[in-house]
Amino acid sequence: MCVYDANAHMTITLLLFASYADALGASALTVELPRDSTVGDVLTAIRSRRGADRLPPSPLVAVNQRYAALSRVVQEGDEVAIIPPVAGG
């Protein structure tokens, strides 16, 4: 029997910028995931969206405004972002 357990899930906000925001038609997405999911899992969860094929396989990511690894475990309330190739200066 499969019972949905709200406590075993969490809500993650994923921020998108520049070309990635254009590709997915949004600057932020909300993703529902099991607890103990990684940043990589967040990315996998949005791969089926229209335009997601324009993201690279392993984009740069940040958690709470710091660069992070795709293996980084995320927690409820974390601010996760996909960072397109930077072009400041």
Binding site: L15, S19, D22, R66, V86, A87, G88, G89
Partner: protein
């Protein structure tokens, strides 16, 4: 002087950036200005939109300044990056450093601009004379931009 790291939406005041690093101890002050070029990769540019992940960009700029201060032994580092719509020849970034000796000033200035270009989450969308616009990808991949 207090190290300075900021994002602005108005034209950058170069003299104020210089003043932030000028002290009686500094025999050398170096100001780097990055400006919008009319031609990039052979295409005619009419202007650039600079966008940022602002909270993270601010944090990264501050981290770069802190690291520079620790590594080069001077507190006199100031970085200002502009966001928004810039015309050709307008200044997008100003980096001023001050040090007693010019050797270190040159090395420090260069270190800061390279770190900024590598780490700070800022993006630019070039507008071309043919009406198209495109996010610039310095890694050389095809941009996700399209004519609009």
């Amino acid at each position: 002087m207090t190290p300075l790291a900021s994002l602005v939406r108005e034209p950058i005041d170069s003299l104020a950036v210089i003043r932030a690093v000028s002290t009686p101890a500094n025999g050398a002050v170096l100001l780097f200005l990055g400006a919008v070029r009319q031609v990039n990769d052979g295409r005619d540019v009419t202007g650039i939109d600079y966008a940022a992940y602002e909270a993270m960009a601010q944090r990264e700029l501050e981290a770069i300044v802190d690291e520079a201060v620790a590594a080069f032994g001077t507190a006199d580092v100031a970085v200002v990056h502009r966001l928004g719509a810039l015309a050709v020849e307008e200044v997008s970034v100003a980096i001023a450093v001050g040090h007693p000796h010019r050797d270190t000033a040159y090395a420090l200035s260069r270190w800061v601009i390279e770190a900024l270009k590598r780490r700070v989450p800022i993006w630019k969308r070039e507008h071309y004379t043919d009406g198209t616009r495109e996010w610039v990808d310095p890694t050389g991949h095809v941009g996700a931009g399209a004519p609009t």
